[in-house]
Subunit: 296 residues, 2 copies
Protein backbone atom coordinates (compact mmCIF):
# COMPACT_ATOMS: atom_id res chain seq x y z
CA UNK A 1 0.00 0.00 0.00
CA UNK A 2 1.26 3.45 -0.90
CA UNK A 3 2.59 5.87 1.62
CA UNK A 4 0.01 8.68 1.55
CA UNK A 5 1.48 12.12 1.93
CA UNK A 6 -0.45 14.78 3.82
CA UNK A 7 0.48 18.14 2.33
CA UNK A 8 -0.49 19.95 5.54
CA UNK A 9 2.16 18.05 7.47
CA UNK A 10 4.80 18.55 4.79
CA UNK A 11 3.97 22.26 4.62
CA UNK A 12 4.66 22.66 8.31
CA UNK A 13 8.47 22.72 8.07
CA UNK A 14 8.31 25.34 5.32
CA UNK A 15 5.93 27.44 7.41
CA UNK A 16 8.21 27.14 10.42
CA UNK A 17 11.23 28.28 8.41
CA UNK A 18 9.27 31.29 7.12
CA UNK A 19 8.02 32.09 10.62
CA UNK A 20 11.53 32.06 12.07
CA UNK A 21 12.73 34.57 9.48
CA UNK A 22 9.63 36.78 9.58
CA UNK A 23 10.15 37.15 13.32
CA UNK A 24 13.53 38.78 12.72
CA UNK A 25 12.29 41.47 10.31
CA UNK A 26 12.23 45.00 11.61
CA UNK A 27 8.66 45.71 10.52
CA UNK A 28 5.56 43.75 9.59
CA UNK A 29 5.81 41.86 6.31
CA UNK A 30 2.50 42.81 4.69
CA UNK A 31 0.64 40.94 1.96
CA UNK A 32 -2.52 42.35 0.40
CA UNK A 33 -5.08 39.90 -1.00
CA UNK A 34 -7.64 40.96 -3.56
CA UNK A 35 -10.90 39.06 -3.65
CA UNK A 36 -13.66 39.84 -6.13
CA UNK A 37 -15.90 36.81 -5.51
CA UNK A 38 -18.36 36.59 -2.65
CA UNK A 39 -18.47 32.82 -2.51
CA UNK A 40 -16.82 29.77 -3.93
CA UNK A 41 -13.32 28.30 -4.10
CA UNK A 42 -11.51 31.64 -4.24
CA UNK A 43 -13.06 32.67 -0.90
CA UNK A 44 -11.92 29.37 0.60
CA UNK A 45 -8.44 29.90 -0.82
CA UNK A 46 -8.32 33.42 0.64
CA UNK A 47 -9.26 32.02 4.03
CA UNK A 48 -6.46 29.47 3.83
CA UNK A 49 -4.04 32.25 2.97
CA UNK A 50 -5.25 34.22 5.98
CA UNK A 51 -4.70 31.26 8.30
CA UNK A 52 -1.26 30.63 6.82
CA UNK A 53 -0.20 34.27 7.14
CA UNK A 54 -1.45 34.48 10.73
CA UNK A 55 0.49 31.33 11.56
CA UNK A 56 3.85 32.68 10.33
CA UNK A 57 3.40 36.30 11.42
CA UNK A 58 2.76 37.86 8.01
CA UNK A 59 0.19 40.63 8.10
CA UNK A 60 -2.53 39.69 5.61
CA UNK A 61 -4.84 42.47 4.47
CA UNK A 62 -7.74 40.97 2.51
CA UNK A 63 -9.47 43.57 0.36
CA UNK A 64 -12.85 42.88 -1.15
CA UNK A 65 -13.09 44.79 -4.41
CA UNK A 66 -15.42 44.96 -7.38
CA UNK A 67 -13.70 43.35 -10.34
CA UNK A 68 -13.89 46.59 -12.31
CA UNK A 69 -12.11 48.41 -9.46
CA UNK A 70 -9.38 45.79 -9.29
CA UNK A 71 -6.89 47.38 -11.70
CA UNK A 72 -6.87 50.65 -9.77
CA UNK A 73 -6.58 48.77 -6.47
CA UNK A 74 -3.59 46.77 -7.77
CA UNK A 75 -1.92 49.97 -8.98
CA UNK A 76 -2.35 51.47 -5.49
CA UNK A 77 -0.89 48.38 -3.80
CA UNK A 78 2.03 48.37 -6.25
CA UNK A 79 2.75 51.98 -5.31
CA UNK A 80 2.37 51.53 -1.55
CA UNK A 81 5.78 50.99 0.14
CA UNK A 82 4.04 49.38 3.11
CA UNK A 83 2.73 46.56 0.90
CA UNK A 84 5.35 43.89 0.19
CA UNK A 85 3.25 41.26 -1.52
CA UNK A 86 0.08 41.07 -3.60
CA UNK A 87 -2.14 38.01 -3.89
CA UNK A 88 -5.06 37.83 -6.31
CA UNK A 89 -7.81 35.23 -6.24
CA UNK A 90 -8.78 33.95 -9.67
CA UNK A 91 -10.89 33.52 -11.73
CA UNK A 92 -12.02 37.13 -12.04
CA UNK A 93 -13.05 37.77 -15.62
CA UNK A 94 -11.81 34.47 -17.03
CA UNK A 95 -9.55 33.71 -19.96
CA UNK A 96 -7.13 36.23 -21.39
CA UNK A 97 -8.56 39.08 -19.37
CA UNK A 98 -7.25 37.37 -16.23
CA UNK A 99 -3.85 37.04 -17.90
CA UNK A 100 -3.92 40.84 -18.27
CA UNK A 101 -4.64 41.15 -14.53
CA UNK A 102 -1.70 38.90 -13.63
CA UNK A 103 0.63 41.23 -15.49
CA UNK A 104 -0.63 44.26 -13.54
CA UNK A 105 1.05 43.03 -10.36
CA UNK A 106 4.53 44.49 -9.85
CA UNK A 107 6.92 41.50 -10.21
CA UNK A 108 8.65 42.61 -7.01
CA UNK A 109 5.35 42.07 -5.14
CA UNK A 110 4.12 39.06 -7.10
CA UNK A 111 3.67 36.43 -4.40
CA UNK A 112 2.10 33.99 -6.87
CA UNK A 113 4.87 34.26 -9.45
CA UNK A 114 2.35 34.65 -12.27
CA UNK A 115 3.58 37.84 -13.91
CA UNK A 116 5.04 37.19 -17.36
CA UNK A 117 8.30 38.58 -15.97
CA UNK A 118 8.68 35.51 -13.74
CA UNK A 119 7.03 33.09 -16.14
CA UNK A 120 9.59 33.92 -18.79
CA UNK A 121 12.47 33.43 -16.35
CA UNK A 122 11.10 30.01 -15.48
CA UNK A 123 10.78 28.92 -19.12
CA UNK A 124 14.31 30.12 -19.77
CA UNK A 125 15.62 28.37 -16.66
CA UNK A 126 16.96 31.65 -15.23
CA UNK A 127 17.06 30.99 -11.54
CA UNK A 128 18.09 34.43 -10.34
CA UNK A 129 16.95 37.98 -10.92
CA UNK A 130 20.39 39.55 -10.77
CA UNK A 131 23.84 38.87 -12.17
CA UNK A 132 25.27 38.50 -8.64
CA UNK A 133 22.76 35.63 -8.06
CA UNK A 134 21.57 37.07 -4.75
CA UNK A 135 17.90 37.45 -5.67
CA UNK A 136 16.26 34.13 -6.42
CA UNK A 137 13.63 34.07 -9.14
CA UNK A 138 10.03 33.67 -7.98
CA UNK A 139 8.34 30.40 -9.02
CA UNK A 140 4.58 29.87 -9.28
CA UNK A 141 3.17 28.42 -6.07
CA UNK A 142 1.35 25.29 -7.21
CA UNK A 143 4.07 23.84 -9.47
CA UNK A 144 6.62 24.66 -6.79
CA UNK A 145 4.42 22.97 -4.19
CA UNK A 146 4.26 19.84 -6.36
CA UNK A 147 8.06 19.75 -6.68
CA UNK A 148 8.42 20.10 -2.89
CA UNK A 149 5.92 17.27 -2.34
CA UNK A 150 7.84 15.09 -4.81
CA UNK A 151 10.95 15.80 -2.77
CA UNK A 152 9.07 14.85 0.41
CA UNK A 153 7.99 11.66 -1.37
CA UNK A 154 11.62 10.76 -2.00
CA UNK A 155 11.06 11.03 -5.75
CA UNK A 156 13.81 13.64 -6.24
CA UNK A 157 17.24 12.27 -5.34
CA UNK A 158 18.95 15.28 -3.77
CA UNK A 159 22.44 13.93 -4.39
CA UNK A 160 21.98 13.33 -8.14
CA UNK A 161 23.06 15.93 -10.72
CA UNK A 162 20.78 16.79 -12.37
CA UNK A 163 18.38 15.90 -9.60
CA UNK A 164 15.82 14.22 -11.87
CA UNK A 165 18.30 12.85 -14.42
CA UNK A 166 16.97 9.64 -15.97
CA UNK A 167 13.51 10.05 -14.47
CA UNK A 168 10.37 10.01 -16.59
CA UNK A 169 7.26 11.98 -15.64
CA UNK A 170 3.75 12.15 -17.08
CA UNK A 171 1.75 15.32 -16.34
CA UNK A 172 -1.93 15.53 -17.22
CA UNK A 173 -2.57 19.28 -17.48
CA UNK A 174 -0.74 21.89 -19.54
CA UNK A 175 -2.31 25.09 -18.24
CA UNK A 176 -0.10 28.16 -18.10
CA UNK A 177 -0.62 28.31 -14.33
CA UNK A 178 0.36 24.78 -13.34
CA UNK A 179 0.93 22.11 -15.97
CA UNK A 180 3.29 23.88 -18.35
CA UNK A 181 5.46 25.55 -15.68
CA UNK A 182 5.59 22.25 -13.78
CA UNK A 183 6.71 20.31 -16.87
CA UNK A 184 9.32 22.96 -17.51
CA UNK A 185 10.61 22.96 -13.92
CA UNK A 186 10.91 19.16 -13.88
CA UNK A 187 12.70 19.16 -17.25
CA UNK A 188 15.01 21.92 -15.99
CA UNK A 189 15.92 19.51 -13.20
CA UNK A 190 16.77 16.76 -15.68
CA UNK A 191 13.52 14.83 -16.15
CA UNK A 192 11.93 13.63 -19.37
CA UNK A 193 8.34 14.90 -19.06
CA UNK A 194 5.39 13.99 -21.25
CA UNK A 195 2.73 16.67 -20.88
CA UNK A 196 -0.85 15.88 -21.90
CA UNK A 197 -3.81 18.13 -22.46
CA UNK A 198 -6.81 18.22 -24.78
CA UNK A 199 -4.54 19.37 -27.63
CA UNK A 200 -2.37 16.25 -27.29
CA UNK A 201 1.02 15.38 -25.85
CA UNK A 202 4.22 17.43 -25.77
CA UNK A 203 7.66 16.33 -24.60
CA UNK A 204 9.74 18.48 -22.22
CA UNK A 205 13.39 17.52 -21.79
CA UNK A 206 16.46 19.36 -20.45
CA UNK A 207 17.32 20.12 -24.09
CA UNK A 208 14.01 21.80 -24.82
CA UNK A 209 10.44 21.05 -25.88
CA UNK A 210 9.57 18.63 -28.67
CA UNK A 211 6.48 17.42 -30.43
CA UNK A 212 5.73 13.78 -29.64
CA UNK A 213 3.17 11.14 -30.58
CA UNK A 214 3.53 9.14 -27.39
CA UNK A 215 0.23 7.74 -26.19
CA UNK A 216 -1.21 7.97 -22.72
CA UNK A 217 -0.64 4.23 -22.29
CA UNK A 218 3.04 4.42 -23.28
CA UNK A 219 3.69 7.48 -21.14
CA UNK A 220 2.07 5.92 -18.08
CA UNK A 221 3.89 2.64 -18.58
CA UNK A 222 7.24 4.46 -18.49
CA UNK A 223 6.53 7.08 -15.83
CA UNK A 224 8.37 7.09 -12.50
CA UNK A 225 6.13 10.01 -11.47
CA UNK A 226 2.56 10.75 -12.59
CA UNK A 227 0.97 14.11 -11.84
CA UNK A 228 -2.70 14.73 -12.63
CA UNK A 229 -4.62 17.98 -12.64
CA UNK A 230 -7.59 17.52 -14.95
CA UNK A 231 -10.45 19.75 -13.79
CA UNK A 232 -13.18 17.48 -15.08
CA UNK A 233 -15.24 14.45 -14.13
CA UNK A 234 -14.96 13.22 -17.72
CA UNK A 235 -11.26 12.40 -17.51
CA UNK A 236 -10.67 8.66 -17.80
CA UNK A 237 -9.20 7.94 -14.36
CA UNK A 238 -5.62 6.71 -14.27
CA UNK A 239 -5.83 3.05 -13.21
CA UNK A 240 -3.32 0.90 -11.35
CA UNK A 241 -2.88 -1.46 -14.33
CA UNK A 242 -1.60 1.46 -16.41
CA UNK A 243 1.20 2.26 -13.94
CA UNK A 244 4.69 0.99 -13.18
CA UNK A 245 5.07 -0.62 -9.74
CA UNK A 246 6.63 1.86 -7.33
CA UNK A 247 5.31 4.94 -9.11
CA UNK A 248 4.86 8.24 -7.26
CA UNK A 249 1.36 9.59 -7.97
CA UNK A 250 0.29 13.20 -7.33
CA UNK A 251 -3.19 14.63 -7.89
CA UNK A 252 -3.68 18.39 -7.78
CA UNK A 253 -7.11 18.52 -9.41
CA UNK A 254 -10.10 19.17 -7.18
CA UNK A 255 -11.51 16.15 -8.99
CA UNK A 256 -10.26 12.67 -8.36
CA UNK A 257 -8.03 11.75 -11.34
CA UNK A 258 -6.71 8.40 -10.01
CA UNK A 259 -8.80 5.24 -9.61
CA UNK A 260 -9.05 3.81 -6.10
CA UNK A 261 -6.77 0.89 -6.93
CA UNK A 262 -3.79 3.21 -7.53
CA UNK A 263 -3.09 3.51 -3.81
CA UNK A 264 -2.38 -0.20 -3.68
CA UNK A 265 0.21 -0.07 -6.48
CA UNK A 266 1.93 3.29 -6.06
CA UNK A 267 4.89 3.70 -3.72
CA UNK A 268 3.74 7.16 -2.69
CA UNK A 269 0.40 8.85 -3.25
CA UNK A 270 -0.17 12.59 -2.83
CA UNK A 271 -3.94 13.14 -2.95
CA UNK A 272 -3.88 16.96 -2.83
CA UNK A 273 -1.49 19.87 -2.93
CA UNK A 274 -3.37 22.96 -1.61
CA UNK A 275 -1.76 23.45 1.84
CA UNK A 276 1.72 23.28 0.30
CA UNK A 277 0.66 25.87 -2.30
CA UNK A 278 -0.19 28.28 0.52
CA UNK A 279 3.15 27.57 2.20
CA UNK A 280 4.96 28.36 -1.05
CA UNK A 281 3.08 31.67 -1.30
CA UNK A 282 4.28 32.56 2.21
CA UNK A 283 7.80 31.58 1.23
CA UNK A 284 7.60 33.69 -1.92
CA UNK A 285 6.37 36.66 0.11
CA UNK A 286 9.40 36.39 2.38
CA UNK A 287 11.71 36.03 -0.61
CA UNK A 288 10.25 39.13 -2.26
CA UNK A 289 10.62 41.05 0.98
CA UNK A 290 14.25 40.10 1.39
CA UNK A 291 15.11 40.73 -2.27
CA UNK A 292 13.29 43.98 -2.88
CA UNK A 293 11.90 45.58 0.27
CA UNK A 294 14.24 44.84 3.16
CA UNK A 295 16.41 47.91 2.62
CA UNK A 296 13.58 50.29 1.72
CA UNK B 1 -31.37 49.71 -48.58
CA UNK B 2 -28.10 50.04 -46.67
CA UNK B 3 -24.96 51.35 -48.25
CA UNK B 4 -22.65 48.33 -48.23
CA UNK B 5 -19.04 49.16 -47.48
CA UNK B 6 -16.31 47.18 -49.22
CA UNK B 7 -13.32 47.10 -46.86
CA UNK B 8 -10.93 46.49 -49.79
CA UNK B 9 -11.90 49.80 -51.35
CA UNK B 10 -11.70 51.68 -48.05
CA UNK B 11 -8.31 50.13 -47.32
CA UNK B 12 -6.93 51.48 -50.59
CA UNK B 13 -6.40 55.05 -49.40
CA UNK B 14 -4.57 53.83 -46.30
CA UNK B 15 -2.39 51.59 -48.41
CA UNK B 16 -1.63 54.46 -50.77
CA UNK B 17 -0.60 56.72 -47.89
CA UNK B 18 1.70 54.01 -46.52
CA UNK B 19 3.14 53.35 -49.97
CA UNK B 20 3.97 57.03 -50.50
CA UNK B 21 5.91 57.15 -47.23
CA UNK B 22 7.62 53.79 -47.63
CA UNK B 23 8.97 54.99 -50.97
CA UNK B 24 10.86 57.79 -49.23
CA UNK B 25 12.67 55.58 -46.70
CA UNK B 26 16.38 55.11 -47.21
CA UNK B 27 16.27 51.32 -46.87
CA UNK B 28 13.74 48.54 -47.17
CA UNK B 29 11.15 48.46 -44.41
CA UNK B 30 11.19 44.77 -43.50
CA UNK B 31 8.48 42.79 -41.76
CA UNK B 32 9.00 39.16 -40.77
CA UNK B 33 5.95 36.90 -40.58
CA UNK B 34 6.00 33.70 -38.55
CA UNK B 35 3.70 30.92 -39.67
CA UNK B 36 3.45 27.60 -37.82
CA UNK B 37 0.39 26.18 -39.60
CA UNK B 38 0.52 24.44 -42.96
CA UNK B 39 -3.08 25.09 -43.93
CA UNK B 40 -6.13 26.99 -42.77
CA UNK B 41 -7.07 30.60 -42.06
CA UNK B 42 -3.65 31.66 -40.78
CA UNK B 43 -2.07 30.65 -44.11
CA UNK B 44 -4.70 32.70 -45.94
CA UNK B 45 -4.05 35.63 -43.63
CA UNK B 46 -0.30 35.37 -44.25
CA UNK B 47 -0.95 35.43 -48.00
CA UNK B 48 -3.05 38.58 -47.64
CA UNK B 49 -0.25 40.19 -45.65
CA UNK B 50 2.21 39.26 -48.40
CA UNK B 51 0.01 40.84 -51.09
CA UNK B 52 -0.48 43.96 -48.96
CA UNK B 53 3.24 44.35 -48.24
CA UNK B 54 4.14 43.84 -51.92
CA UNK B 55 1.60 46.48 -52.86
CA UNK B 56 3.07 49.18 -50.60
CA UNK B 57 6.74 48.28 -51.01
CA UNK B 58 7.30 46.66 -47.61
CA UNK B 59 9.64 43.66 -47.76
CA UNK B 60 7.74 40.74 -46.26
CA UNK B 61 9.80 37.75 -45.18
CA UNK B 62 7.48 34.84 -44.34
CA UNK B 63 9.22 32.26 -42.18
CA UNK B 64 7.70 28.81 -41.73
CA UNK B 65 8.72 27.56 -38.29
CA UNK B 66 7.83 24.69 -36.02
CA UNK B 67 5.80 26.04 -33.12
CA UNK B 68 8.40 24.82 -30.63
CA UNK B 69 11.07 26.77 -32.53
CA UNK B 70 9.00 29.94 -32.55
CA UNK B 71 10.27 31.51 -29.32
CA UNK B 72 13.88 31.29 -30.48
CA UNK B 73 12.91 32.62 -33.92
CA UNK B 74 11.11 35.61 -32.39
CA UNK B 75 14.11 36.35 -30.16
CA UNK B 76 16.34 36.36 -33.25
CA UNK B 77 14.00 38.71 -35.15
CA UNK B 78 13.79 41.01 -32.11
CA UNK B 79 17.58 41.21 -32.05
CA UNK B 80 18.03 41.69 -35.81
CA UNK B 81 18.40 45.40 -36.68
CA UNK B 82 17.33 44.67 -40.27
CA UNK B 83 13.91 43.50 -39.08
CA UNK B 84 11.51 46.37 -38.31
CA UNK B 85 8.28 44.53 -37.75
CA UNK B 86 7.16 41.07 -36.60
CA UNK B 87 3.85 39.48 -37.51
CA UNK B 88 2.69 36.20 -35.98
CA UNK B 89 -0.17 34.08 -37.26
CA UNK B 90 -2.37 32.67 -34.51
CA UNK B 91 -3.59 30.31 -33.17
CA UNK B 92 -0.36 28.47 -32.40
CA UNK B 93 -0.76 26.63 -29.12
CA UNK B 94 -4.12 28.15 -28.18
CA UNK B 95 -5.22 29.86 -24.98
CA UNK B 96 -2.83 31.44 -22.52
CA UNK B 97 0.20 29.92 -24.19
CA UNK B 98 -0.50 32.15 -27.22
CA UNK B 99 -0.74 35.14 -24.87
CA UNK B 100 2.79 34.27 -23.76
CA UNK B 101 3.92 34.28 -27.40
CA UNK B 102 2.39 37.73 -27.99
CA UNK B 103 4.49 39.12 -25.19
CA UNK B 104 7.69 37.73 -26.71
CA UNK B 105 7.53 40.24 -29.55
CA UNK B 106 9.53 43.40 -28.89
CA UNK B 107 6.91 46.19 -28.56
CA UNK B 108 9.00 48.28 -30.96
CA UNK B 109 8.47 45.61 -33.64
CA UNK B 110 4.94 44.60 -32.72
CA UNK B 111 3.01 45.24 -35.94
CA UNK B 112 -0.16 43.71 -34.49
CA UNK B 113 -0.15 45.79 -31.30
CA UNK B 114 -0.81 42.69 -29.18
CA UNK B 115 2.04 42.92 -26.66
CA UNK B 116 0.76 43.74 -23.17
CA UNK B 117 2.87 46.89 -23.39
CA UNK B 118 0.53 48.31 -26.04
CA UNK B 119 -2.62 46.70 -24.67
CA UNK B 120 -2.11 48.47 -21.36
CA UNK B 121 -1.59 51.81 -23.07
CA UNK B 122 -4.84 51.33 -24.93
CA UNK B 123 -6.82 50.48 -21.79
CA UNK B 124 -5.33 53.51 -20.06
CA UNK B 125 -6.08 55.74 -23.07
CA UNK B 126 -2.41 56.67 -23.40
CA UNK B 127 -2.11 57.66 -27.02
CA UNK B 128 1.63 58.24 -27.17
CA UNK B 129 4.74 56.33 -26.18
CA UNK B 130 6.77 59.36 -25.13
CA UNK B 131 6.26 62.51 -23.11
CA UNK B 132 6.96 64.69 -26.16
CA UNK B 133 4.03 62.97 -27.94
CA UNK B 134 6.03 62.22 -31.06
CA UNK B 135 5.66 58.43 -31.00
CA UNK B 136 2.07 57.34 -31.39
CA UNK B 137 0.98 54.26 -29.48
CA UNK B 138 0.36 51.13 -31.56
CA UNK B 139 -3.24 49.94 -31.66
CA UNK B 140 -4.34 46.37 -32.43
CA UNK B 141 -5.15 45.95 -36.13
CA UNK B 142 -8.69 44.58 -36.16
CA UNK B 143 -10.25 47.00 -33.63
CA UNK B 144 -8.45 49.84 -35.38
CA UNK B 145 -9.75 48.61 -38.74
CA UNK B 146 -13.30 48.61 -37.39
CA UNK B 147 -12.92 52.19 -36.15
CA UNK B 148 -11.61 53.25 -39.58
CA UNK B 149 -14.54 51.52 -41.30
CA UNK B 150 -16.97 53.27 -38.95
CA UNK B 151 -15.34 56.55 -39.96
CA UNK B 152 -15.73 55.58 -43.62
CA UNK B 153 -19.39 54.82 -42.87
CA UNK B 154 -19.89 58.35 -41.56
CA UNK B 155 -20.63 56.97 -38.10
CA UNK B 156 -17.86 58.98 -36.41
CA UNK B 157 -18.49 62.73 -36.71
CA UNK B 158 -14.96 64.10 -37.15
CA UNK B 159 -15.92 67.59 -35.96
CA UNK B 160 -17.49 66.49 -32.66
CA UNK B 161 -15.46 66.48 -29.40
CA UNK B 162 -15.38 63.79 -28.23
CA UNK B 163 -15.89 62.23 -31.63
CA UNK B 164 -18.42 59.64 -30.46
CA UNK B 165 -20.02 61.77 -27.73
CA UNK B 166 -23.67 60.79 -27.25
CA UNK B 167 -23.36 57.70 -29.44
CA UNK B 168 -24.38 54.26 -28.22
CA UNK B 169 -22.70 51.10 -29.47
CA UNK B 170 -23.38 47.40 -28.96
CA UNK B 171 -20.45 45.01 -29.48
CA UNK B 172 -20.98 41.25 -29.51
CA UNK B 173 -17.54 39.84 -28.63
CA UNK B 174 -15.29 40.67 -25.70
CA UNK B 175 -12.12 38.82 -26.66
CA UNK B 176 -8.84 40.38 -25.59
CA UNK B 177 -7.83 40.62 -29.26
CA UNK B 178 -10.82 42.46 -30.70
CA UNK B 179 -13.96 43.00 -28.62
CA UNK B 180 -12.52 44.42 -25.42
CA UNK B 181 -9.95 46.72 -27.07
CA UNK B 182 -12.63 47.88 -29.53
CA UNK B 183 -15.10 48.70 -26.73
CA UNK B 184 -12.35 50.55 -24.92
CA UNK B 185 -11.28 52.53 -28.00
CA UNK B 186 -14.87 53.56 -28.76
CA UNK B 187 -15.45 54.59 -25.13
CA UNK B 188 -12.16 56.52 -25.16
CA UNK B 189 -13.67 58.44 -28.09
CA UNK B 190 -16.80 59.28 -26.10
CA UNK B 191 -19.21 56.43 -26.84
CA UNK B 192 -21.37 54.45 -24.45
CA UNK B 193 -20.59 50.85 -25.36
CA UNK B 194 -22.41 47.74 -24.22
CA UNK B 195 -20.13 44.75 -24.66
CA UNK B 196 -21.64 41.25 -24.75
CA UNK B 197 -20.05 37.87 -24.47
CA UNK B 198 -20.94 34.49 -23.01
CA UNK B 199 -20.23 35.84 -19.51
CA UNK B 200 -22.83 38.60 -19.93
CA UNK B 201 -22.85 42.32 -20.64
CA UNK B 202 -20.40 45.02 -19.51
CA UNK B 203 -20.69 48.76 -20.00
CA UNK B 204 -17.76 50.84 -21.30
CA UNK B 205 -18.04 54.62 -20.99
CA UNK B 206 -15.52 57.48 -21.12
CA UNK B 207 -15.59 57.40 -17.29
CA UNK B 208 -14.62 53.75 -17.08
CA UNK B 209 -16.10 50.26 -17.13
CA UNK B 210 -19.22 49.31 -15.20
CA UNK B 211 -21.23 46.21 -14.54
CA UNK B 212 -24.64 46.35 -16.22
CA UNK B 213 -27.76 44.22 -16.52
CA UNK B 214 -28.85 45.63 -19.84
CA UNK B 215 -30.36 42.98 -22.10
CA UNK B 216 -29.49 42.28 -25.70
CA UNK B 217 -32.90 43.65 -26.74
CA UNK B 218 -32.43 46.95 -24.87
CA UNK B 219 -28.88 47.41 -26.09
CA UNK B 220 -29.83 46.77 -29.71
CA UNK B 221 -32.88 49.08 -29.48
CA UNK B 222 -30.61 51.95 -28.36
CA UNK B 223 -27.55 51.30 -30.48
CA UNK B 224 -26.43 53.73 -33.21
CA UNK B 225 -23.71 51.23 -34.11
CA UNK B 226 -23.80 47.45 -33.78
CA UNK B 227 -20.61 45.42 -34.17
CA UNK B 228 -20.72 41.63 -34.22
CA UNK B 229 -17.88 39.15 -33.99
CA UNK B 230 -19.31 35.93 -32.65
CA UNK B 231 -17.28 33.00 -33.97
CA UNK B 232 -20.18 30.55 -33.89
CA UNK B 233 -23.13 29.36 -35.94
CA UNK B 234 -25.15 29.13 -32.73
CA UNK B 235 -25.36 32.88 -32.17
CA UNK B 236 -28.96 34.11 -32.53
CA UNK B 237 -28.57 36.36 -35.59
CA UNK B 238 -29.24 40.05 -35.05
CA UNK B 239 -32.50 40.78 -36.88
CA UNK B 240 -33.77 44.00 -38.45
CA UNK B 241 -36.71 44.26 -36.01
CA UNK B 242 -34.23 44.47 -33.10
CA UNK B 243 -32.45 47.51 -34.58
CA UNK B 244 -32.99 51.28 -34.71
CA UNK B 245 -33.60 52.65 -38.21
CA UNK B 246 -30.42 54.17 -39.59
CA UNK B 247 -28.10 51.93 -37.61
CA UNK B 248 -24.56 51.24 -38.77
CA UNK B 249 -23.92 47.48 -38.70
CA UNK B 250 -20.47 45.88 -38.81
CA UNK B 251 -19.72 42.16 -38.84
CA UNK B 252 -16.16 40.99 -38.28
CA UNK B 253 -16.93 37.34 -37.58
CA UNK B 254 -16.16 34.79 -40.27
CA UNK B 255 -19.71 33.64 -39.53
CA UNK B 256 -22.73 35.68 -40.55
CA UNK B 257 -24.02 37.37 -37.38
CA UNK B 258 -26.71 39.56 -38.99
CA UNK B 259 -29.93 38.26 -40.56
CA UNK B 260 -30.48 39.00 -44.24
CA UNK B 261 -33.16 41.60 -43.50
CA UNK B 262 -30.67 43.88 -41.71
CA UNK B 263 -29.35 45.27 -44.98
CA UNK B 264 -32.79 46.70 -45.71
CA UNK B 265 -32.97 48.57 -42.41
CA UNK B 266 -29.41 49.66 -41.67
CA UNK B 267 -28.03 52.87 -43.10
CA UNK B 268 -24.62 51.33 -43.61
CA UNK B 269 -23.61 47.69 -43.56
CA UNK B 270 -20.01 46.49 -43.30
CA UNK B 271 -20.03 42.74 -44.00
CA UNK B 272 -16.34 42.08 -43.31
CA UNK B 273 -13.24 43.80 -42.03
CA UNK B 274 -10.22 41.66 -43.09
CA UNK B 275 -8.66 43.81 -45.84
CA UNK B 276 -8.73 46.85 -43.58
CA UNK B 277 -7.02 44.83 -40.85
CA UNK B 278 -4.13 44.12 -43.21
CA UNK B 279 -3.94 47.82 -44.15
CA UNK B 280 -3.72 48.73 -40.45
CA UNK B 281 -0.88 46.24 -39.99
CA UNK B 282 1.01 47.94 -42.84
CA UNK B 283 0.32 51.31 -41.25
CA UNK B 284 1.54 50.05 -37.88
CA UNK B 285 4.71 48.71 -39.50
CA UNK B 286 5.43 52.16 -40.95
CA UNK B 287 4.69 53.82 -37.62
CA UNK B 288 7.05 51.48 -35.78
CA UNK B 289 9.75 52.13 -38.35
CA UNK B 290 9.43 55.89 -38.04
CA UNK B 291 9.24 55.82 -34.24
CA UNK B 292 11.96 53.33 -33.45
CA UNK B 293 14.08 52.33 -36.44
CA UNK B 294 14.43 55.33 -38.77
CA UNK B 295 17.53 56.70 -37.08
CA UNK B 296 19.15 53.34 -36.42
Amino acid sequence: LAQVIDPSLEARSFRQAVKARVGTLGRPLTVVGFLTAEAGPSVTYANYTKVGCDDVGIRFDLRHVQRLELERAIDAANADPDVHGVFIYYPIFGGEHDRYVKDLVDPRKDVEGLNTYWVRKLYHNERFDDAARTRKAILPCTPLAIVKLLEAAGAVPQEARPKLGGRTVAVFNRSEVVGRPLASMLANDGARVVSFDVDGPMLFTPAGIEETRVTRAEALRQADIVVTGVPSRDFALVRADELKPGVVAVNFSTFKNFADDVEAKARVFVPRVGPMTVAMALRNALRLYESYHAGA
